[in-house]
């Protein structure tokens, strides 16, 4: 086998691009789940973000406004889920699935007149002098701003959850909502905010798909990325840094298997295509084998509806 023409740097650049939508959606869902909400509507919020981001970017000519529009679209559609689950106490699993279907349908309707249009180009962030530096320059300084932002966002979420009072309150809502309520915190409002944050992140991830990864609008173009993001949150055992690991690993295996095929290395593509999913399942099995650990990591009130009875 000849691996010499496999350009590792180019592959890393590709894998980070492939992983960023997953990363953004997963970190948002992590915050929602930490507050005790299981939102299975990630795919729906992403596709809404993809279409609103695309519409905003093509109308205004600014990719940055496009990303903002995507985040806003995702956040707006998530308020529907938030209202239904937090104030009407609907079942979170069913509502989340409904949100996905609703999002896919609404996005198709909104995007009707946007087929075959080119969005404005998202420029890379060039650092004078450094971006031209061989290998390292390409590895570290050759990305668009959203990629840096996504990594910063993971840090910010980690910092917020573990180092601030607000983060403590949010986690309290997810671990024991009755206790949080009795201390005087408005559980529903906090969860509402967490859901909207999750929606904005998913929407941003969706906009990244339609503006950078595949710069075009096609119906259903997120093609299941939202579901992978949901799995990555469990894979990461609700820890922000592991979300990066999970997302990059998933993106990495996908890119690696495509690149190996392009190289003409005859490993059966079917197995390679399966690998990311198999690895995720294996990690999930290993993690859940240690019951105590798994139960410590999962927010205790995840998926449970809170109803203030007093």
């Amino acid at each position: 086998m000849d691996f010499s023409s496999l350009n590792a740097v180019a592959m890393i650049v590709l894998l980070i691009g492939a992983a960023t939508p997953i990363l953004l959606a997963a970190i948002g869902e992590l915050v929602a789940e930490k507050s005790g909400v299981l939102n299975l509507g990630v795919e729906g919020m992403m596709i809404i973000g993809a279409v609103t981001g695309f519409i905003t970017a093509t109308t205004t000519g600014s990719p940055m406004l496009g990303f903002a529009g995507g985040a806003l679209g995702g956040a707006l559609v998530s308020t529907l889920f938030a209202f239904l689950t937090q104030y009407l106490h609907s079942n979170q699993v069913a509502t989340g699935l409904a949100l996905t279907m609703f999002g896919l349908g609404l996005a198709a309707l909104m995007g009707r007149n946007y087929n075959g249009i080119k969005p404005p180009r998202t420029d890379r962030l060039e650092v004078p002098g450094l971006s031209d530096f061989p290998v390292l320059g390409e590895l570290l300084f050759s990305y668009d701003p959203i990629i840096y932002f996504s990594v910063f966002l993971v840090f910010a979420v980690w910092w917020f959850l573990n180092r601030t009072r607000g983060g403590l309150v949010l986690r309290a809502c997810g671990e024991n909502h009755d206790a949080a309520h009795s201390l005087g915190y408005n559980v529903q409002l906090i969860r509402f905010g967490a859901i909207m944050f999750g929606g904005a992140c998913a929407g941003l991830g969706g906009a990244y798909v339609s503006l950078v990864r595949v710069p075009q609008w096609t119906e259903g173009m997120t093609a299941g990325v939202g579901w992978i993001a949901l799995a990555i949150v469990v894979f990461a055992s609700w820890k922000p840094w592991r979300v990066i690991l999970g997302a990059y690993m998933f993106g990495g295996i996908t890119i690696l298997q495509l690149s190996l095929q392009a190289l003409g290395i005859s490993i059966s593509g079917a197995y390679l295509s399966m690998t990311p999913y198999i690895v995720t399942i294996v990690v999930l099995v290993i993690m859940s084998a240690d019951r105590k650990r798994a139960s410590i990591n999962a927010p205790a009130c995840l998926g449970r509806s809170f109803h203030a009875s007093h």
Binding site: A108, R112, G116, V214, G220
Partner: protein, 358 residues
């Protein structure tokens, strides 16, 4: 995910059929099952253009309905049964993976006619139809072979089924005929529609020095990437030049309208029977989009000549001598592959690197 897709399909079903529920008994009802969204601007979009052509042809005498994004497999059976139960006269199932579901459901509804695209299993009430896309692939293969400067052509393939394998072989033979040094790099993505993955595959191929990309997947993602990276590509199923004004050299066009109009007409006359239709460039089921002005005049002339020769039956892409990948003889000199062999084609021809997954 399957679950939600089923729900979505069921919901779409309700919407699509609600309009026809209380109509007169007179109009013929035709149902269509699509594997992707109509907005894919590729495969499913062309089938829906065919459906619209049926409506335009027969007006009030026909009612059509469709369900899009139906997953291949057990879910497809449920959607088909539901459609058959709703009083549809003929159901077109438009993806290879619907083959067994179509046969199963057709056995339950002997009074409903079925037509399955790109498969090879027939029954009393199940017809099959397909287009000889490999004829179109031969034309674009020739252009690709003439246009590549790196002598590396990338091919984004979906699933290792005969339909796709035929396309690869045909394109390779054509490219090789004009450029003996040409090399094919095939990437299997195991999906018909996933723009993200198709884009990744295109990027991985370009990274390996490929400067012309062909695809057998449904979205214009690879075209967009080709445009961005400054390489050439071919539209799949429909003209994709909007996504790659500089990248698209030409496109293979699917034209299902005439077939659908003919079959629905046969239902009206009561002359419908299970047939196997496999038409190509000659019958107009496969078309070639206008050439890009990036293609030099002599190559355009050659391609035009090839199109005419294939249409008249003078040229068959699979004419010997052709060896299989392992070097054994497949077709002797002058021998033409028969349709049966082509329908089940499961090997690469000599010269293509890499192993064909099974």
């Amino acid at each position: 995910m399957k679950f939600t897709k089923t729900l979505a399909a069921a919901a779409a079903m309700g919407l699509a059929l609600s309009g026809s529920a209380y109509a007169d008994a007179d109009p013929v009802k035709a149902g269509f099952i699509y594997v992707g969204p109509i907005g894919d601007l590729g495969w499913t979009w062309t089938h829906d253009q065919g459906r619209l052509a049926v409506e335009a042809e027969y007006g009030d005498r026909v009612e059509t309905s469709y369900v899009e994004s139906v997953p291949e497999g057990a879910d497809a059976e449920r959607v088909m049964s539901q459609m058959a139960r709703s009083g549809v006269d003929i159901i077109f199932t438009t993806s290879f993976g619907y083959m067994d579901p179509t046969i199963n459901v057709a056995a339950e509804f002997p009074d409903v006619a079925f037509a399955h695209a790109t498969g090879y299993k027939r029954a009393e009430n199940v017809a099959t139809y397909s287009a000889r896309f490999y004829e179109g692939r031969y034309v674009i293969g020739q252009i690709a072979g003439a246009m590549t400067e790196t002598n590396k052509i990338g091919y984004i393939a979906s699933f290792p089924i005969p339909e796709v394998v035929r396309g690869i072989n045909s394109a390779y033979l054509a490219a090789k005929s004009v450029n003996p040094d040409v090399e094919f790099k095939v990437v299997w993505v195991y999906t018909w529609f996933d723009p993200g993955k198709e884009a990744d595959a295109a990027n991985a191929l370009i990274e390996q020095g490929v400067d012309v990309i062909m695809q057998h997947t449904d979205s214009p993602a690879a075209m967009t990437i080709a445009e961005e990276k400054g390489v050439y590509a071919f539209g799949q199923a429909s003209d994709m030049s909007a996504f790659g004004p500089n990248a698209q050299l030409t496109a293979i066009l699917d034209n299902w309208g005439p077939y659908y109009i003919d079959r629905v007409g046969a239902i009206m006359d009561g002359t419908w029977e299970s047939t196997d239709v496999w038409d190509g460039i000659g019958a107009g089921m496969v078309g070639i989009a206008p050439f890009s002005d990036k293609i030099p005049a002599d190559v355009q002339a050659l391609a035009t000549e090839t199109i005419a020769a294939i249409a008249s039956g003078e040229l068959h892409p699979f004419t010997g001598p052709i060896n299989k990948q392992d070097g054994t003889v497949w077709l002797a000199d002058g021998e033409v592959a028969d349709d049966g062999t082509l329908a089940g084609l499961n090997f690469y021809v000599e010269g293509i690197d890499g192993e064909l997954p099974n």
